[in-house]
Amino acid sequence: MELIGVILGLVVKSVIFVIGMFLLAAYLTLVERKFAGHIQQRPGPLHVGFHGLLQPIADALKVITKEDLVPDFVDKLLFYMASLLAFVPAIMILAVIPFGEKITLFGYELKPYITDLNVGLILALALGSISIYGVIFAGWASNSKYPMIGGLRKAAVLIGYEVALGFALVGPIMMAGSFSLREIVEAQQGFFGAFIWYQPIAFIVFLFAILAETGRTPFDVQEAEAELVSGYNTEYSGMKFGLFPLAEWYIATFVLSAIAVILFFGGWNGPHIFGPFSSYIWFLLKLGIVFMFLLWVHWTLPRYRVDQITELAWKVMLPLTFINIFLTAFIVVIKG
């Protein structure tokens, strides 16, 4: 009986997380469209609701009710599976991300995370990387030139940044002495305890990896609009198409910026000035700032070529992380 209770609790919590993430992702599209619009001196969505506040709902209705074309000669099974393969792992990362401290409400103890594994960080990285298969297989299954090139480009980019990303995370892990995201946050106490002061190199490499993994602009080679029509999702339509940007541009970016906040900006640590929900508000505030920074970079920079990205990853970022690990080892030994 107790087992059923635990499972039921987990299911309810997961459903809340997934639905919340869906709504959040829908409104992140609005945030991005407004932000991009104002950067280009135009107002963005304006007419549906007050300043476009209902635009995400209209968009969702449009995408869902749209005709869902499947081209001839595509590999049907993979074609359908690819969009799920991109979406499901991206949303699964949420399982290991803690959003704040435990709170007690009406006598129940609520934990703001689904599970706290002691290898949470590795699992988050692994799931984030698995969602890349969605892009690659979408490219292959479409049986078309541009998606194919897009998928292959993504695979080539993945080989480049994944190594640098792994080594970049070694620095914060060494300082915290744990893979558990919760313990990493607990290791950063106070304003100057945040790891960004000790790990600026690792943070730059991590930013590079986030941009490359989520396919945001300096590294959006897989869907370079000017060259590849729309890249790996050229042949997709309807909600199958909608899942790709939702997974890559919004959920993955959101979740990876959450990990960036946890690793470098002290997670939910902050002065208790917002009452009982202080930790959540601090976390979401920091997360929002990191997310907006990523958007800002996206809408500013032009695109790198694939060979330039791999060159950057292997020749610049990877040596930087090695230097960082070396320096961090010194700091850890000196601090004791």
Binding site: D75, I122, Y133, F137, W140, A155, G166
Partner: protein, 176 residues
């Protein structure tokens, strides 16, 4: 029935099924897909057995980093080349595969009796966690094999760089 038992049996069934898929799918991309599935299921097995670190590393390194290379190579190879079956190599691979199977069978049967003789008790493991246990063993008892393994990897890396290096041939005209 315990939850971990259900998880164990479902993970292992799926792992075996997708392993069969790797061998028998004619379409090479489907083979790769079922390979990914096998690796993820095996990592699930590790999770149910309490080896979280190995499970997560299994996904990160095998299911992503290595299989992406396979996918990259397979996608660039034309489809008809992927379908060709050469019986010459099949004859060669049968005895080798059987030998590998024998070795694996021996290891797993041997492991059925010998697995409980590790130096960490479950209580200790629960307290200090998986990562610390693995790293403690790696840097004390098995330091020498660990270093030798990294040396082998270094040699392999240097070899790959030398093989992949472009020979700079300058024509007389180009120099001018």
């Amino acid at each position: 029935m315990d939850l971990s038992v259900i998880a164990f049996w479902s993970f292992s069934t799926l792992a075996v099924l997708s392993a069969i898929g790797v061998v028998f799918f004619k379409n090479i991309i489907y083979s790769v897909l079922s390979l990914i599935s096998t690796l993820i299921m095996v990592s699930g097995l590790f999770f149910t057995l309490g080896a979280e670190l190995v499970g997560a590393l299994q996904i990160l390194i095998y299911a992503v980093a290595i299989v992406v290379f396979y996918v990259l190579v397979i996608s660039t190879v034309p489809e008809y080349k992927g379908k060709a079956i050469d019986p010459k190599y099949m004859l060669l691979s049968l005895p080798v595969g059987f030998l590998l199977f024998l070795e694996l069978a021996y290891v797993s049967v041997y492991g059925a009796w010998a697995s409980n003789t590790g130096i960490f008790k479950p209580e200790v493991l629960n307290e200090i966690g998986n990562v610390k246990a693995v790293s403690t063993i790696l840097f004390t008892k098995f330091l020498f094999p660990f270093e030798v393994a990294s040396l082998i990897l270094l040699v392999a890396m240097i070899g790959a760089i030398i093989l992949g290096r472009k020979e700079q041939v300058m024509d007389e005209e180009e120099v001018k």
